[in-house]
């Protein structure tokens, strides 16, 4: 068995024979023409044909994958009939007396170059569109054969990369999965694969070899694993995963778009925890209502030196704009303890869990904090941002952090840089100290989000990395749950919302308890959203509340 790692961009498991895409080949000579009018007419008729084909493709895409997919081809159509494009071609045919194939290729490359050099990722991506359009016109001019799949049975399709028009022209009933050696998560191939629900892996590089053609492969579009000649264990494991995914997908179809509301009408927001801008796709796929915890550490972990303001800004902006106006809670830098970064040059600590970490580092080293806050506020112009500080123990820390926010806003205003005026500022409640003084903290902020992993470890004095502590480390401990209730009550008394962003939020055994406590939000990993929604929708809070609260608050216990 050969195991290859790529980037999974469309969830699902597919097994079948690997088949390499047969690309349409257009070969042409570059030559001088005598009759430029005739050459221009040749171009015009090829252009007309291309526009007609694109119209048909748009209709095909609309039928298969909806309006969104059709839009792409309609856009191509408009670009193909563009006056700018046409004029450039006309003057080159007439002045340089070159044949239309050569002219269209050159002009296409020029326009692609122009888009590629713009400082906007959307425009940069249009470079591929221009190449696709000029390639289409050249194929028509040179009478190239159509590319496609020449196979009777369904296959796993391999290619270097597929142009959008190639993807949509394919006979989908023949395709079990996609594997490409190039491409990015936001490439058309990835987007179309997702819309059509076909498992896909991209960016496999030269590990994808032509010699694998015709051999049995399994594609895992979630993890990005490609197995060539899988052994029996792998096949069994993945086929089981496939069955689970199909079941899950059925649940998704039923629950997608449904509100998170109990049988007796109490609702709760279900958001997602993510660790990088690439994680937005699973959030949307699982119908998360927003992002309740975006861990900004990854930006620092993936760099060899402090990430710049612009670098951070681009990452935050991407998440905010990709989430289309839904709330995104970004947690400021949370390193220290189990997450160490070399260039921070932190002195060695005997007990880092109780050491210089998270907000403490930020307040001690304001220059680092300021860079992050500037990037965050700048990004706030592109969506609904909330900022959250981790590891709070005292009111003064929050006030100091907020003061820095005000300072940054003042700076941006003075520099004429736009930012949103309604950025909410909240804190994580993950120390017993913060929970106990949550009545006071609630007067300082717009929301609380309880970090149950740390809250449990600090409350129970149990190291969560220490496996020997198993039975002592109990996240369902009444001390932890009582603190959660206390924090939530204090939040509500002060008119702010309270959620959970730790692992406990997804614990279905506690969902009824959390609803009874009255939490406003649970932020969980994307794949937990729908099971949690199901659980919420199955619950009668008014029936279970009294018993659960008696268990939690009474002085009798069975434990």
């Amino acid at each position: 068995m050969i195991s290859i790692q790529g980037k999974g961009v469309s969830v699902g498991v597919a097994a079948g024979k690997l088949y390499f895409y047969q690309r349409a080949k257009s070969t042409f000579d570059r030559h001088i023409v005598d009759d430029t009018d005739a050459e221009w007419a040749r171009f015009k008729s090829a252009q007309e044909k291309a526009i007609e084909q694109l119209g048909e493709l748009a209709e095909k895409a609309r039928a298969e994958a909806g309006d969104e997919a059709a839009l792409l081809f309609e856009t191509h159509q408009m670009m193909a009939e563009d006056l700018d494009f046409e004029e450039a071609i006309e003057s080159m045919i007439k002045d340089d007396r070159l044949n239309a194939e050569a002219v269209v290729t050159d002009v296409g490359a020029q326009f692609a170059e122009m888009f590629a050099s713009m400082d906007d990722s959307y425009m940069q991506a249009r470079a591929a569109d221009v190449k696709d359009i000029s390639g289409r016109i050249v194929s028509i001019l040179s009478g190239a054969v159509q590319g496609g799949i020449d196979s009777e049975e369904p296959i796993v399709l391999a290619a270097d990369d597929l142009a959008p028009s190639e993807t949509v022209q394919l006979d989908k009933s023949k395709i079990l999965g996609f594997v490409t050696s190039l491409g990015s998560g936001s490439s058309h191939t990835a987007i179309l694969a997702r819309t059509m629900g076909i498992p896909a892996i991209i960016g496999v590089g030269d590990l994808l070899k032509e010699e694998y053609a015709g051999r049995e492969v399994i594609v895992d579009g979630g993890t990005g694993n490609l197995f060539v000649d899988p052994d029996d264990d792998t096949r069994d494991r993945l086929m089981q995963k496939r069955a689970e995914l199909i079941k899950r997908n059925e649940l998704l179809q039923q629950l997608k778009g449904q509100p998170n509301i109990t049988k007796d009408g109490q609702s709760i927001r279900i958001y997602c925890n993510i660790g990088s801008p690439d994680d937005v796709y699973p959030v949307q796929e699982n119908d998360g209502g927003g992002i309740g915890l975006f861990r900004s550490e990854f930006l620092y972990l993936e760099c060899d030196d402090y990430p710049t303001e612009d670098y951070q800004f681009e990452a935050y902006k991407k998440v905010l704009s990709d989430m289309n106006g839904l709330e995104v809670v970004i947690r400021t830098l949370d390193i220290g303890a189990d997450k160490q970064i070399d260039y921070f040059e932190m002195p060695h600590e005997e007990n880092p869990a109780l050491g210089n970490r998270a907000l403490r580092i930020c307040l001690n080293r304001p220059e680092i904090f300021r860079t992050q806050l500037r990037a965050l506020y700048r990004a706030s112009a592109y969506g609904k941002l909330s900022i959250m500080f981790p590891m709070v123990t005292s009111v003064w820390e929050v006030r100091e952090a907020k003061k820095m926010c005000e300072q940054v806003k003042k700076e941006l205003t003075a520099e004429g840089i736009p930012f949103s005026e309604d950025v909410d500022v909240g804190i994580m409640i993950e120390t017993p100290a913060a929970a106990v003084i949550s009545d006071r903290l609630a007067k300082e902020v717009d929301f609380f989000s309880i970090g149950t992993n740390d809250l449990t470890q600090y409350t129970l004095a149990c190291d969560r990395q220490n496996n020997d502590l198993g039975r002592f480390f109990n996240a369902h401990h009444p001390a932890v749950l009582r603190l959660i209730k206390m924090v939530c009550d204090n939040a509500h008394r002060n008119g702010i919302w309270c959620g959970i962003c730790g692992e406990l939020g997804a614990d279905l055994e506690l969902t009824e308890t959390f609803l009874s406590i009255g939490l406003d939000e649970l932020s969980v990993s994307p794949r937990s959203v729908l099971p949690l929604r199901q659980k919420v929708r199955d619950t009668y809070v008014s029936v279970v509340r009294e018993g659960l609260m008696n268990d939690l608050l009474g002085d009798q216990t069975s434990l």
Binding site: Q77, M78, M79
Partner: protein, 88 residues
Amino acid sequence: MKSFDYVITDEVGIHARPAGLLAREVKGMAGSTVSIGKTGDEKVVNVLKVMGVMGLGIKKGDSVTVTVEGGDEDAVCAKVEEFFKANF
């Protein structure tokens, strides 16, 4: 010559598709040349040149000046302005 200023409120600004739609709309207005540029900027582009319009990089919040020359300027200008309000 007639002209109007307009502030783009659409999230995506003037990207490929809206630029294409604009060109289609204007194609039907014989005798008039419609141009667009960022307000105060020297660079103006005929709206029929879709790629040129995209190349202006017009984003949400930008103010643009649209000018109409030739043909029934009043009617065309009103029509184009209406189109901007509906689409951008």
